[in-house]
Assembly symmetry: C2
Homo-oligomer: 345 residues x 2
């Protein structure tokens, strides 16, 4: 009987990989460092997902249920692999509590870390309680509490969403684009407008990157049906006049300074490489690319390969990624992991 496949990380990519392998009769071992499966959408309490509009707890929760109830999948939560040795076809893995197991191959679905807005202090997070992150707003919506100003619980009348917080920002060492924040923010703006029809929502942007079919579904729709306003601006700082938050910057379309008051300011936080990536790279013997994500080989010759034969990678471990593409990549990596090595020429 074939040895099991090790899947590291229980977010969308890992859940997809494990479920697919199990569905065609392959044994998997799924290891998740947190106490709960689901990855960022579950652990961070996301609300409605792009692009289907399903609630994260249903959509990703359903993926979790398929995996936990599966005879072909052994799930270890709250633990991390401590040793990984050997070669493709016969790796030896140490899993605390489960001892030493032999696996055929491994798929790293170790995801990303949310950017910590404390690293962008001039934009007010940590100083003003009503400056929050997209993750916090997701939680306000998904919990049913609704979008409220943390300082006093009032319904905001004016909300600004600031894009590219921790993305496209060399000053703080984050040159990459986080790919999905534009679309997620447009979606969130519509959700805020739906809950609070009297609330004005502004999105501050550099470039709007609602790529592909998201253009219609999020960019156009948010403007036309939901009257969300987009301002192309370079933001200087977020301050307060004692009563309201003040976003100061330059409107780059009219080249004029703009100073607008808001009740709530939302940081659309980017996707950093997983803070554990140095340890993960060392443990599994794989290389990182220049920004610190797990390096991926050419997808033409052999999809989802890391620098180490038999170790594959999928999802946002390789760079900012959408949930949908993470799922595709998880399944692609699952198939790559069980293809004979000779076919990956």
């Amino acid at each position: 009987m074939a040895k099991p496949v090790l899947v590291v990380g229980g977010g969308p990519a890992g859940l997809a990989a494990a479920h697919s392998l199990a569905s065609i009769g392959r044994q998997c071992i799924l290891v998740e460092k947190e106490d709960q499966l689901g990855g960022a959408p579950i652990l961070s309490g996301y609300a409605k997902l792009v692009p289907t509009g399903e609630w994260a707890k249903d959509a990703i929760g359903g993926m979790v249920d398929r995996v936990t109830g599966n005879d072909n999948i052994t799930v270890h939560t709250g633990c991390q692999v401590t040793s990984f040795e050997g070669e493709a076809g016969s790796f030896k893995v140490e899993i605390p509590g489960a001892g030493s197991v032999e696996v055929d191959s491994a798929i790293l679905c170790t995801g990303f870390s949310h950017f910590d807005s404390m690293n962008k202090p001039e934009w007010g997070f940590g100083t003003f309680p009503d400056v929050v992150t997209t993750t916090q707003v997701e939680q306000m919506i998904s919990s049913g509490a609704g979008v409220r100003c943390p300082s006093d619980g009032r319904k905001p009348k004016r909300v600004a969403i600031l894009l590219c917080v921790g993305s496209r920002d060399r000053q703080i060492g984050r040159e990459w684009c986080s790919k999905i924040c534009c679309t997620v923010s447009a979606n969130m703006a519509m959700e805020i407008r739906e809950e609070l029809p009297d609330c004005h929502v502004y999105i501050y942007y550099m470039d709007i990157r609602t790529f592909g079919l998201y253009e219609t579904k999020y960019y156009w729709k948010s403007q036309e049906e939901f009257k969300v306003k987009y301002i192309k601006a370079r933001i200087a700082e977020v301050t307060s006049d004692g009563e309201r938050l003040i976003v100061k910057g330059e409107d780059t379309l009219v080249k004029r300074p703009i100073t607008i008051p808001f009740d709530m300011v939302v940081h659309a936080i980017g996707m950093d490489p997983n803070v554990d990536n140095a340890r993960i790279a060392s443990l599994f013997g794989v290389q990182l690319e220049q920004h610190g994500y797990i390096a991926e080989g050419s997808r033409y010759s052999a999809a989802c390969q890391t620098s180490r034969p038999g170790v594959f990678v999928a999802g946002s471990a390789t760079g900012p990624e959408t949930i949908d593409d993470s799922i595709s990549q998880g399944k692609a990596a699952a198939l790559a992991a069980i293809e004979p090595l000779s076919s990956a020429a």
Copy 2:
């Protein structure tokens, strides 16, 4: 023995799907309407691909070779499925020349059609010989002929690449974004500068959408290492002063009309739904989404599914897509196609 899987379309997604299935011992039938496999990258003569920089003829050519030499894959080129009936697990397919075959499931990898620039006449294509498309420039580079003005064969000293030709343009019924043109154009601009170091290259854009890690590798690099210039503009028309092409528009950052002469103007053409999609949808009994691409179900519950059980879809058949993601989706669809139906709950 399991029935074969039908793969329709021999571009990156279809090649990936067929090869993956064959690698794990499943029989496939690959049907391609053109006389040659490879899809747009081969048939349209693409040059160096995003993101690896490999030549299309090597990268995608390698994928073709793996498929044509594979005992588990029966390839039919220059033909189209004429009938598709039955249910998941037992579809009956008519393939001219091969007769009637029974398949377990089908994967539609039927791709896109390049936008025809004749539908944007005010931008000079069809009127001025030195107004060309990105596809034509790809061919100039991949053929080894080099980037030359078609009118007289001279090396251009000034080239403008116009983004969003056939994308984000409601006037001509194309509201979507074609996702990869920004990155492909930045890559092309660098290739032109590499071949012709004296040539100035300008990119006219609405928003630069070099998402994710493409930001560093294409947007920053093209500006800093290759001195490519980006102009945010609304283009009115492309005319000629008898000697050179004139691009007229409004610089939307300074709100001023700009009129700049060029030797060559390149249309970064978008990705239309496959012109055959109405026929494909009818033949395979699947639904199209509002723009005319093949509609895809929720990826959380069951990746790569069309509206018809047992019929899957991958790559740019579902909307504008990168080659890399088309390959992932091809593999994901391959796995989805062989998962038992009950697992897709």
